[in-house]
């Protein structure tokens, strides 16, 4: 088990390195110099050169990468060009909010997704299955940013039940677990949960149908086990894969939340990315994407190892 975990870590290391190279190069993809956008128009050539040297943009690319990576490994993601604050503290604050939103959304999606999936898998080709399958197709086809707007139209603009934007009543950048803040998380979390709901229900439906068709289920029934007893066996067999899909979905939501966070003005990483893009704050853009991608890589690793621990039949070579 430990050996398998170590093997996966060795396998993931080059991927993580590749991710860091990608994030480093991202800044250099941009037309012109990363500093062009923030440099005053009337800056003299000498002032520009001074600024460039200060940010290290005058050195060759591989050396710049080496220096950058060394700093990143020490937790220094550079400074935001727009605000002048360290990127790490800006990202850290936003990640917390995004993580809360994505976790709540995953939980809602998982609860309903497994429910629909089990119903559809148990009663294959029945009307219930058709309904559950339609829900999952709708979930993966709906533009979630539009769904967010529709939710705001219905529950805020028309019914006036829930607040349309923000994370709390005081416009604060921090979400807290109390009743007042809870009202603010409902709309974005429900909107976001639609995607994992569709994917999890699809997965669980296939899993359940697959397990029910196996001989051991027949044997259990022949032995005279109650339907509830059989159900427990099905759950135990479906759980590792379903939980793995849930874990991966959390990663997808965390990285893909920018559109929903923009619609609901949720003060998370997506919102931060949006600001970074439009202020052309490239260090902030780079840092946020690096943190999100590394989080996704780590999550993949954890899910992979946990899944193997729960179900030794699965081992990736």
């Amino acid at each position: 088990m430990l050996l398998y975990a170590l093997k996966r870590i060795v396998y993931v290391t080059p991927v993580a390195l590749g991710v860091s190279i990608f994030c480093f190069l991202l800044v250099h993809l941009a037309p012109g110099d990363p500093l062009t956008a923030v440099m005053p128009i009337d800056a003299t050539a000498a002032q520009q050169a001074e600024m460039r040297a200060a940010y290290g943009f005058d050195k060759p690319l591989p050396i710049q990468y080496g220096i950058w990576l060394w700093k990143v490994l020490q937790g220094d993601l550079g400074q935001s060009i727009a605000s002048g604050r360290p990127v790490l503290s800006e990202v850290g604050r936003a990640v917390g909010n995004s993580l809360i939103l994505a976790s709540v959304a995953t939980l809602i999606g998982f609860t309903f997704g497994t429910f629909f999936g089990f119903v559809a898998g148990y009663f294959r080709d029945s009307a219930l299955d058709k309904i559950a399958s339609s829900v999952s197709v709708l979930g993966v086809s709906v533009p979630h940013y539009w769904l967010g707007i529709v939710m705001v139209i219905i529950f805020s603009a028309t019914l006036g039940w829930l607040p349309p934007t923000g994370a709390g009543p005081d416009g604060s950048g921090k979400w807290r677990p109390d009743m007042e803040h809870l009202r603010y998380i409902i709309l974005p979390a429900v909107t976001m949960s639609v995607i994992p709901m569709g994917i999890i229900s699809r997965t669980v439906r296939a899993l359940v149908a697959d397990i029910l068709a196996q001989e051991f289920v027949q044997a259990l029934r022949a032995k005279g086990l109650s339907e509830w007893g059989v159900f427990k066996h099905v759950v135990t067999n479906a759980a590792p894969t379903a939980l793995a899909v849930m874990g991966l979905q959390l990663g997808y939501l965390l990285g893909g939340s920018i559109l929903i966070e923009t619609v609901f003005a949720w003060p998370g990483t997506g919102f931060l990315l949006n600001a970074a893009i439009f202020q052309r704050d490239l260090p902030l853009l780079q840092g946020t994407i690096l943190v999100l991608a590394m989080f996704f890589v780590a999550l993949n690793l954890i899910v992979d190892v946990l899944q193997t621990a729960l179900d030794p039949r699965i081992q990736r070579g």
């Binding site: 991927v15 990608f22 990663g251 920018i258």
Partner: protein, 295 residues
């Protein structure tokens, strides 16, 4: 000797059985869901192409005095937008850019990705390992994040958003193409072709591509739905199409201010994205079962 020479082998005439594509077509036609989805797609595509003839008004000319008209207002069958332009007209014209920026990346990624995948899969060995490891790096990013990171760095614009989305889909298609090619490469008929002296180019053209492109094509069609949502999403964020061009994602964004006054009108552009995306998804599902591709 002469007996042998005289013996003619009489091959009984075989009636040409229905070809593979013909039977796929037959199965598709019998799938009502896929046919309705295809009908919706064709309708939207035709309307977009024939926009100047079908649309009732000018997509750019508005009137500040007649802005935000409700649905069904005389002269505005689907209402008017925030600048008083006819919504129906702009939704019809919007299909042009939305479909273009949604379908193009998948088309480009299909060509580039299957090229890379077949190459890596056929060559195998160390080259394959290197190519696939590079591709693994792209899988470390959720699609939405990768698309936004790339267009954010490249800057706004139609071309940049197509480039970013193509980069998002190339690794996904390459991975499928590589997996299928690796399977095909070790089949007996490929071995036989190699032993009989066919060169690599001929083997790839005749034996590999013929077997790989089908499953990869089905996979690519399933990406169109995602691509439509992402492409319009980029425009929604202000990273794709620029005003005043009609495009569904951008229209959804500019109409956000109207959700309190004309909520139905504000929701229309997104409904178009939804309709197109779900139609592509359902058609792709139908195509998959008609082609009997297992995934």
């Amino acid at each position: 000797m002469s007996v042998l020479a005289d013996t003619r082998v009489v091959v009984p005439e075989v009636k040409a059985s229905r070809g593979y594509w013909a039977s796929v077509g037959m199965r598709l036609i019998r799938d009502p869901v896929a046919m309705v989805a295809l009908g919706v797609i064709l309708l939207i595509v035709l309307a977009a192409i024939l926009a100047p003839y079908v649309a009732p008004a000018d997509p750019y000319r508005g009137s500040m005095l007649r802005r935000l008209r409700p649905i069904g207002f005389p002269g505005y069958p689907l209402g008017g937008d925030e600048l008083g332009r006819d919504m129906l007209t702009r939704l019809i014209y919007g299909g042009r850019l939305s479909l273009f920026i949604g379908v193009m990346p998948v088309l480009l990624a299909f060509c580039i990705g299957s090229g890379i995948g077949v190459f890596a899969g056929y060559i195998g060995g160390r080259v394959n390992t290197i190519v696939m490891r590079v591709i693994d790096v792209f899988f470390a990013f959720p699609s939405v994040l990768l698309a936004i990171a790339l267009s954010g760095a490249l800057g706004a614009g139609v071309l940049n958003s197509i480039v970013s989305l193509t980069i998002v889909f190339v690794p996904q298609i390459a991975r499928v193409a590589e997996a299928v090619t690796t399977q095909i490469r070790t089949r007996d008929y490929v071995e036989a072709a190699r032993v009989s002296g066919a060169n690599a180019f001929t083997i790839v053209r005749v034996h590999v591509l013929g077997n790989v492109l089908g499953p990869v094509f089905v996979y690519a069609t399933s990406l169109i739905s995602v691509s439509m949502i992402l492409a319009s999403g980029l425009s929604f964020l202000g990273l794709g199409v620029k005003p005043p061009e009609p495009e569904w994602g951008l229209m959804l964004n500019t109409l956000r201010t109207a959700i309190y006054t004309q909520p139905m009108v504000a929701a229309l552009p997104g409904a178009m994205i939804f309709l197109t995306s779900i139609s592509f998804n359902l058609f792709s599902d139908g195509l998959r079962s008609a082609m009997e591709v297992k995934q």
